[in-house]
Amino acid sequence: MSSKNTEKPWGGRFTAPTDKFVEQFTESVSYDQRLAHYDIMGSIAHVRMLGMVGVISGKESAQIIRGLKKIEKDIKGGAFQWLTTLEDVHMNIETALVANIGDVGKKLHTGRSRNDQVATDIRLYCRDEIDLICDQINAVLNALLTLADDHIDTIMPGFTHLQSAQPVTFGHHLLAWAEMLLRDRSRLHDCRKRLNLLPLGSAALAGTSYPIDRNMVAKELALMASHKTHWTQSVTVILQ
């Protein structure tokens, strides 16, 4: 395969195989495999663009896309074998791709880094989760409004300092909760706008010398093109 001293995809400059403990300590695939769908989605958009701009041939691009789709199918069907020795979701998928389609698979990682790759994965994942959570908030709101409608005449004490303050109705009280949840939903919508940006293309940190077309990738992923930004900020927004 190669003359390098380890079987790691980045093993070229290493003279000793990775210590077993270090492999265990640094692996993330046991939990980041949850991002596989988004990782493949990003890879397909990336490699299609590489083919369009001529960094790789159209044929190679199509071959890699087919290979990635097959891997996605294997993952969904439970046939995919995740290996902690391959560190993370990205290297597991890339290694399987090379094993399945041969050396052309090694061209997938042209012009990108795991840094911009994972940032893209997370944004795509959070975008979907925000949409799901907003739907769930709507379900809770629907239940609240139905209950409130049944109790527009149900008198209860309103409290301040947990002391009886003024009479209200149970329906009125419930609407306060509905409005709070609506504000939360609005925060998530704002967060979605801020995270709907494409980090892919910034590579490790400084961009890449290949003639890549970031807008093309952004269009496929329905993201706005952008320079690399720190996505963890949007994580904190979600947690509000």
Partner: protein
């Protein structure tokens, strides 16, 4: 999560024997291993507890980021589990609430009695006096004394006779009783966002439109 947690706190209090405002469906509560009579509001309690867990995730992420120079650092790998945990927990909590809310049964009488017991229409009486020409500060003082009298005689405001009320202000007439009744008080706040049933109905309609 903070909002769900506050909501949880209210449900737990309302379901306590001391309050007795609501009951939650049997399918959404659990019992005690030792006390046979118990029916506990575990779902809101757990959501309140899980809020602490999500705050923990947030703190983990904020602390993770606080000393990182640009650009990528391997520290960032540690963000995944907190993020996933927070998202999973928020989703589970929302599912719980969507299921729990329709099972809420209201004890109308207990709620009404509690509203009638705490001089909750005192502000309405003060507003009544203002309409009759008193400055609000004077009205506040009059009603404060009236409440004190009612406490001493173990009565509610609406249970005081007209002469009893009039010893604190001559402007009080027998039309005061509609103001002192809970229904009158609730209906009187008849503006956008107010407690009047027609306003609440309109607010529900407005909010429903935002669901889509």
């Amino acid at each position: 999560m903070m909002h769900l947690s506050r909501f949880s706190e209210e449900l737990v209090i309302w379901m306590s024997q001391a309050s007795g405002f609501i009951d939650l469906g049997d399918a959404w509560c659990t019992g005690s291993s030792i006390m046979p009579q118990k029916k506990n509001p575990d779902i809101p309690e757990l959501v309140r507890g899980k809020t602490g867990r999500v705050y923990g995730d947030l703190m983990a992420l904020l602390t993770l980021m606080k000393a990182q120079p640009l650009a990528y650092n391997r520290d960032n790998q540690e963000d995944k589990e907190s993020l996933f945990d927070a998202i999973d927990t928020v989703k589970m909590s929302l599912i719980a609430y969507a299921g729990l809310i329709p099972t809420i049964k209201v004890n109308h009488e207990t709620m009404y009695r509690a509203a009638a017991a705490g001089f909750a229409t005192a502000t309405d009486l003060a507003d009544y006096l203002v309409v009759k020409g008193l400055p609000f500060r004077d009205a506040h003082e009059v009603v404060g004394k009236t409440v004190q009298f009612a406490i001493q005689h173990d009565k509610e405001l609406s249970g005081l006779t007209l002469p009893e009320l009039q010893q604190f202000s001559k402007v009080i007439k027998d039309d005061v009783y509609t103001v002192l009744e809970l229904e009158g008080s609730v209906s009187a706040r008849n503006h956008v966002g107010g407690t009047a049933p027609r306003q609440v109905k309109a607010a529900i309609r407005r909010l429903r439109k935002k669901l889509n």
